[in-house]
Each structure stands twice: as C-alpha cells, then as structure tokens.
C-alpha cells in the first residue's frame, strides 16, 4: 500500500527581486507513472514591507506527464491585521488543467502588506501519464521588489496516492 507523505518546511524560504517562478526547496514530491494522487498544500507566506502591487504568485509544476488534473484554492488574499483573520477577504477559486500544471501557469497574484501574512490551502487531484517526475509548488514575487517575500516554516505539502475512475 502506498504511503502518504507530508513535506513540512522547517525553515523559512526568502526570495527578493524575482518574478520567475521557481520550486520551493521543501514543498516537492516524487510522483509515479500511471498513479493518481490527492495533493494538498497548506501555505503561509508574507512580505517584509508594505506593497501595493501583487507580491506573491504560485503555480503547481510537474516534470512528468499528466492525464488529467484539477483543483482549487482557498486563501486569505487580502492584508490581515494580525495575521489570522480578516473580514473582507475574497474566496478565489482556481481550476486548472493538466496543461496548466505542466507549464506552471496560470499563477495567482495576491497582495499583502507590512507585518502581515496570508494563509492558503491549495488542493489538486491528478493522474500521472507514462512519465513520472517531480511535483512541486513554485512561487515568486508577483511584482519584483527588493523587499523580501517569504514562505514560512510550518507550510506543508501532503501527497497521497489514490484510486480514481479512469
């Protein structure tokens, strides 16, 4: 029986002055050819200074081939006063296809400000094709800034093989 995995970040990852999506060094997993998976990322990210432009974007990326994929996100996508609650946030849903995942697009841009951070659950279900590979959460700044964008320790990527109808 396949064993589910949980990759949990034990340290923050910081990026500056880049809008180029790149794999998070911790939030990755190896997927096997022909298998189906349920994947969930619980994410916490933030910025070191006030920004008024989209400053975080993300995408799934898979180096192998996919038969199908779909998913959604639930995210605090507005500045939050003390980092755990806001009253005017917007529920954004993102539905993507296998092609979107293999090309690492589309990315979603959200805004935060000084001293606050946002949280999210990103989920997807997929079936790998003939080629297995590395699945990862990619992220970058939405707009390049010298101010740090951070994905915090404690964020995790859960991967579990499942059986779905073909």
């Amino acid at each position: 029986m396949p064993t589910p995995t949980l990759a949990l970040k034990s340290a923050n990852t910081v990026r500056t002055s880049t809008t180029t999506l790149a794999d998070d060094p911790d939030l990755t997993a190896t997927l096997t050819a022909g298998a189906c998976y349920e994947i969930e990322c619980v994410l916490r990210w933030g910025n070191s200074a006030t920004v008024t432009v989209p400053n975080f974007k993300w995408a799934w990326n898979f180096t192998g081939s996919l038969i199908w994929a779909n998913g959604y996100q639930t995210m605090n996508n507005r500045p939050m006063d003390i980092g755990w609650r806001n009253t005017d946030n917007i529920d954004r849903e993102l539905h993507y296809t296998a092609a979107c995942i293999t090309t690492a697009a589309p990315a979603t841009a959200v805004t935060a400000s000084t001293g606050v951070w946002a949280g999210a659950i990103l989920r997807c279900w997929l079936k790998v094709g003939d080629t297995g590979g590395t699945f990862s959460l990619q992220w970058a700044q939405g707009t390049s800034s010298v101010n740090q964008t951070t994905v915090y320790a404690g964020s995790g990527l859960y991967v579990c093989e499942r059986q779905f109808g073909s």
Binding site: P2, V42, L43, R44, I121, G154
Partner: protein, 162 residues
C-alpha cells in the same frame, strides 16, 4: 482495495455538546493526543451554532509543536438561507498562535437554530522531541447568554501521523 490513508485515525462526535460561558476550552471529543517527533496532518469539519447575542468563539490549540499552520474556512456570519450571506471567510494560525491559544475568532450567531455554522480546513504541524500535548478545537460563547452554544454530532477530526 489499495487505497492508502483511509483515515484510520478519526474522531466523529457522536453526540452534541452544549455550553454557556465565554472561556475557551477543549471540545470533549475533538482532541488528539500527540506523539513526540512526528508530523501531523489533521482535516477538520465542525458544525456549530450560537444565537445572535452569544455568538460562537473558537480557536485551535496544541502543546509541544515546533512549527505548523492551521488554515480554516467557514461561513462566519451564519447568515440565513436566501439572505446576502453566508460570507466565506478564511483564517490561518501559525505555530505561535496555536501553542499559545491566542487569536481566537468569533463567529456571528443566528437566532434560527437550523442556520448553523461550519468550519472546515487542514492543520499541518510537527511535534517536539519531548512532552507533546494535545491538538484540540476549543470553543465557547462570544458573549455570555443563557441559551447554550453547540457543536453538533458529526463534527470530526481526520488525521494522519508521519
């Protein structure tokens, strides 16, 4: 059947719990005893209710964790069906808040008992090498009221230990 992770670790409330008072305390059922040096993923769903005077207050608390995140979403306004709500709100807690049991949230109540609140989400965290405690859903009334707030049968924790 070859499905993995069939939620062998699960708690389903088999009876409603009613409370008055504004002091947060663990739900008697929605509590997990943690093991040292492990990683956890906990999926939760809580069905709850409080009247519009009392409101419903809640958070998550864990002892002996080193890093983690809880992210939840729910209909915090508990609005009546057919009205402008319910509003979907999203809430996150980092390990510091989970350990300290601070940053509780108050969900607006509703005087219609069938208009219930729901809180869903996932927690991921790692436990320290010694003396882990419990991971619990805590709740209370937001304001004292003689009509008890409730957490209903069927609310649950499903978790995996790594």
């Amino acid at each position: 059947m070859t499905l993995s992770a069939l939620w062998t670790n699960k708690i389903y409330k088999t009876g409603d719990t009613s409370r008055t008072g504004t002091t947060l305390s663990d739900d008697p059922d929605l509590v997990i005893t943690l093991t040292a040096s492990k990683k956890y993923r906990v999926r939760f769903m809580v069905l709850c209710w409080a009247n519009a005077t009392a409101d419903f207050q809640f958070d998550f608390k864990a002892g002996g964790i080193t890093h983690g995140v809880v992210h939840a979403y729910g209909n915090l306004t508990c609005a009546a069906p057919g009205s402008s709500g319910p509003v979907i709100s999203h809430m996150s807690w980092p390990e510091a808040n989970i350990i300290s049991g601070t940053n509780n949230i108050v969900m607006n109540g509703n005087n219609t008992t069938t208009t219930r609140g729901v809180i869903c989400g996932t927690a991921v965290f790692a436990t320290a090498s010694s003396s882990p405690g419990t991971f619990a859903f805590r709740w209370a009334q937001g304001t004292n009221n003689v009509t008890a707030a409730k957490v209903y049968t069927g609310s649950h924790f499903l978790w995996e230990e790594f």
